[in-house]
Symmetry: C2
Subunit: 148 residues, 2 copies
DNA sequence: TGACTCATGTCAGGAGTCTGACATACGGTT
DNA sequence: AACCGTATGTCAGACTCCTGACATGAGTCA
């Protein structure tokens, strides 16, 4: 054979998927008792850090489509975690904000997720973390570049 | 506020998700012209490297459920990319293998995916890659440990 | 002013995946 | 031999998310 396939054991791509999958599973595990999914949490966290984000902003930040985020936002709004004005102040974008209830809910989730991230990084030195972090940033930039 | 949320811009977890998402998008882009999804490709690649894998083996390797992989395998079998014996040689596990057609199909996909991985790693030195690779391995191990 | 481009919110339909459940097969323990 | 725990393949139902499409609003340029 001229090409011997991609060795999964030494493939950065496969490992990346593996790590992402393990992280997601760990997050789901700690968020489930709070009645929250990962996308649900991501939405709240994004809103806390970027108040007034639109549906599309949140979708990009949580790596889902506008349609999926919209469904989630409608539920969060119905349950009183998030508020959106009835009319757009400018354009069509509706700026969303956390309610006090949403903020309280997020606090618990943040603590849970933080513990997962701490556990994930436990075995790494600060230097390792820095290199890995910058490497991942570089990978994202290269992948998004389209043709490098 | 006692806790200031998780800063997404400096969160390893968020960056990991970002990288994984970018990688998946890039893979989908190059696999779509071949009429292949990422899971589809993963299944073929796994079978090439671990011939005789069972449905459950493949599901674990591709990070999906047995049920999802089974649907995929049935389609691949129907279309002549994969073969499985009618009866299990031992237990219930049916060892799957690539057909010549499956192998040909995989060759193209492998080349496409390899180019994505090359692009992803383009801006990194060998040393950076090594550190990042080991860091990711450590993260996976820590996350799976349950309580570190 | 009018035409073009882009981003946004929203609706409908469909593909992919998951949860839940059941029967079967192996291994270890009593 | 009988039991139990684990792993597997499979079926059915539901859910999530995506693709495709449309109308609206803002900005740009002639």
């Amino acid at each position: 054979m001229s090409q011997a396939g991609i060795d999964l054991g030494s493939s950065m791509g496969y490992l990346l998927k593996e790590a992402s999958s393990a992280l997601r599973a760990a997050m789901e595990e700690v968020l489930r008792p709070l009645g929250m999914t990962v996308t649900h949490y991501s939405c709240l966290e994004l809103l806390a850090q970027r108040p007034g984000s639109s549906n599309s902003d949140l979708a990009r930040g949580a790596f889902v489509t506008r349609q999926s985020m919209n469904v989630l936002l409608q539920n969060l709004e119905r349950d009183g975690y998030v508020t959106r004005p009835a009319e757009a102040p400018v354009g069509k974008a509706l700026p969303a904000s956390l309610t006090p209830r949403g903020r309280r809910s997020l606090e618990q989730a943040t603590a849970a997720v933080r513990s997962v991230e701490v556990r994930m990084l436990a075995g790494l030195t600060d230097a390792d973390r820095s290199v890995a972090f910058r490497a991942l940033q570089t990978m994202v930039r290269s992948l998004r570049g389209g043709d490098g």
